[in-house]
């Protein structure tokens, strides 16, 4: 079947073909006409339908339509209520102990320790599709890290971290300067937090342990079926198959467990601890994520402002530091690409033209004073 073309397209080659009166020539002309004529696509030439208006123009909230209930923006809006305002921290579960209350009550609690917790990355709606803060914990030997991650830490200007984790935040107000250290005073005593960790792995467990089945009788003719799960479903009447989701023996534990709304009993910057009331999933030494409780109102505005102000005051150069690290990273990356990193390391770092000029200018301006400062710092 021949392609359906607009009549104007047919007319041209046919008219020319009559003049030359040769089928080969006509085909050639047809080809050239196609290439040289006006652009032909869905909007022009291919359809006899009238040109449509832009579909997006009237499909907008501004033209009175309701906002779409599906899609990325709608998903973020839907989750905003249950997303904490601030980022959380990573910690290690150090064990359980108790506080003795004034009235003789015993309050069991869990000790979580923060070790060199640092912000590593801000994730934004524009670049990543959602707002989040990536946080690092501890310290790791560079020899235990692959090259991609080494480059990542190089670009951030921070030492390699033992653990990395991400904390979703509601909007850009929750983002933090990169590279700053978060201490236990990120939280306050009495605050409610959600604590997430992986539970202790139990291995392959039977129905009694895994789902609390009753097991079977010890006697009354029972033979070697004391802890088995029994039946897994009806016969033909109910389909004669095992229904999806049937509780059965299998791997138990080592799942992420969130314990919600734990009150904080104590914080100590020196020991680096956050003590929460009650139990937290997982063995001692497991990594836990602590964040503001999502089912409670966020911390008071004044507290949030206070912590943010403290961060800015403690780390005034955070942005500048990050920028320097980034620039240096690009330089090194280029050197790695061009296979001259080895020379660079042996030869040392040469200042670029701009840097040299800047330095000379700076020397000319206040060389003597700064020299003194440098000596003092050394």
């Amino acid at each position: 079947m021949a392609p359906r073309l607009a009549p104007a397209v047919w007319r041209l080659p046919l008219r020319n073909a009559t003049a030359s009166s040769s089928p080969a020539a006509a085909a050639l002309i047809l080809q050239t006409q196609f290439h040289t004529s006006a652009p032909q696509n869905v909007k022009q030439g291919w359809s006899t339908l009238p040109p449509r208006a832009k579909p997006n123009r009237f499909n907008q909230v501004t033209s009175g339509l309701p906002a779409p209930t599906a899609g990325p923006a709608a998903a973020l809006a839907r989750k905003a209520q249950s997303t904490p305002v601030r980022a959380g921290v990573l910690a290690i579960k150090k064990g359980m102990t108790a506080f003795m209350g004034l009235t003789g009550t015993r309050i069991p609690c869990t000790v979580l320790q923060l070790d060199r917790v640092q912000t590593v990355l801000n994730k934004t709606r524009k670049d990543h599709g959602y707002w989040a803060v990536q946080v690092g914990f501890g310290e790791r030997d560079p020899k235990n890290i692959g090259a991609p991650m080494l480059g990542y830490y190089e670009a951030k200007g921070i030492a390699p971290k033992e653990q990395l984790a991400e904390f979703r935040v509601r909007d850009e107000k929750g983002l933090l300067p990169v590279g700053v250290q978060l201490m236990p005073d990120w939280f306050y005593i009495g605050q409610r937090v959600d604590v997430r960790s992986n539970s202790r792995g139990m291995g392959f467990a039977g129905g009694m342990k895994r789902h609390g089945f009753s097991g079977q009788e010890a006697s009354h003719g029972n033979s070697r079926n004391h802890r088995t799960i029994g039946t897994t479903g009806g016969s033909q009447g109910s389909g004669g198959r095992v229904h999806p989701g049937k509780k059965m023996p299998g791997r138990m534990g080592n799942q992420r467990v969130t314990v919600q709304n734990l009150p904080i009993l104590m914080i100590d910057n020196e020991l680096g601890i956050v003590v929460v009331k009650g139990a937290v999933a997982g063995p001692k030494g497991c990594v836990v994520k602590i964040q503001d409780a999502c089912k409670k109102p966020p911390p008071p505005e004044e507290f949030i402002e206070k912590t943010m102000r403290a961060l800015r005051e403690r780390f005034p150069d955070a942005e500048e530091h990050l920028q320097q690290a980034r620039e240096r990273h690009l330089e090194l990356k280029k050197a790695r690409r061009e296979k001259r990193i080895e020379e660079m390391l042996t030869a040392g770092w040469e200042p670029t033209k701009e840097q040299a000029e800047m330095m000379e200018r700076a020397i000319a301006e206040d060389g003597h004073e700064s020299l003194g400062e440098e000596q003092a710092s050394l």
């Binding site: 000790v111 190089e154 080895e342 020299l371």
Partner: protein, 239 residues
């Protein structure tokens, strides 16, 4: 080692240069010394450590990455002062709840301390009869340290756990020491009829009587204070 001739380092006036120099001070292992030893015009060595990815076969550097010192936006990261914060927390709390250290001493691992098999008397702050019983086990867990006492009340065996640092425990006293050191840490066998001690009421009454004798002879206030304040052990030692 970083004190290089200033002529070689004409860039020092920059703020960043100063900061990097400080970093160098923190991180002594840098390329600085090596490079500056070989005379090089105004070039500077990489101011921080590098991690080299070395080819195993050829032993050449395939790549290298800058490794920053553990700093937070230029300032050194503050690690926690201890890796065992639970113990530190226990010390802190015990100091608060037992300022004289009497209770800690009573259940310490010393010769004079209370042991399993001793008959102990615990006075409760919330009123009620003081509970006496033979100590079956001592569970040492810092602030959570507890003792298990067993007695017979109305011919029925009764066991009670007491947290020794609990504020409701007004005092703990040794009524009678076991003649020979028990050879078990937990005397669970004493629950069996063969070994069961039965009621310790007579030991307690005898101990009370002896204390009353002491009280009449003198040192009234001292013994009285021992009972109430729960200094533990001192007044209660048998004869």
């Amino acid at each position: 080692m970083n004190v290089a001739p200033l002529a070689r380092r004409p860039l020092v006036c920059l703020k960043s240069a100063v900061r990097q120099a400080r970093q160098q001070k923190i991180f002594s292992r840098s390329m600085a010394t090596e490079v500056q030893a070989t005379s090089k015009p105004p070039s500077r060595s990489p101011d921080r450590n590098f991690y080299r990815v070395v080819d195993k076969k050829t032993k050449t550097t395939r790549s290298a990455f800058a490794i920053y010192p553990p700093t937070s936006a230029g300032l050194p990261l503050i690690p926690p002062t201890t890796t065992n914060p639970v113990a530190a927390l226990h010390d802190f709390q015990i100091k608060k709840l037992d300022p004289t250290g009497a209770r800690t001493a009573l259940f310490a691992r010393t010769r004079e301390a209370a042991k399993v098999g001793d008959i102990l008397l615990v006075t409760h702050r919330r009123g009620g009869e003081p509970f006496a019983g033979v100590c079956l086990s001592i569970r040492r867990a810092g602030i959570d340290t507890a003792v298990l006492l067993r007695n017979h009340i109305g011919k029925v065996g009764v066991e009670m756990w007491f947290k020794i640092y609990n504020r409701n425990v007004a005092g703990i006293e040794i009524v009678k020491r076991r003649l020979k050191r028990a050879r078990r840490a937990r005397l669970t066998y004493m629950r069996k009829p063969k070994h069961d001690m039965g009621s310790v009421a007579e030991y307690v009454s005898a101990w009370r009587k002896s204390r009353r004798v002491f009280q009449t002879k003198g040192a009234k206030g001292k013994t009285g204070a021992t009972t109430a304040g729960g200094k533990g052990g001192k007044g209660g030692k048998k004869k």
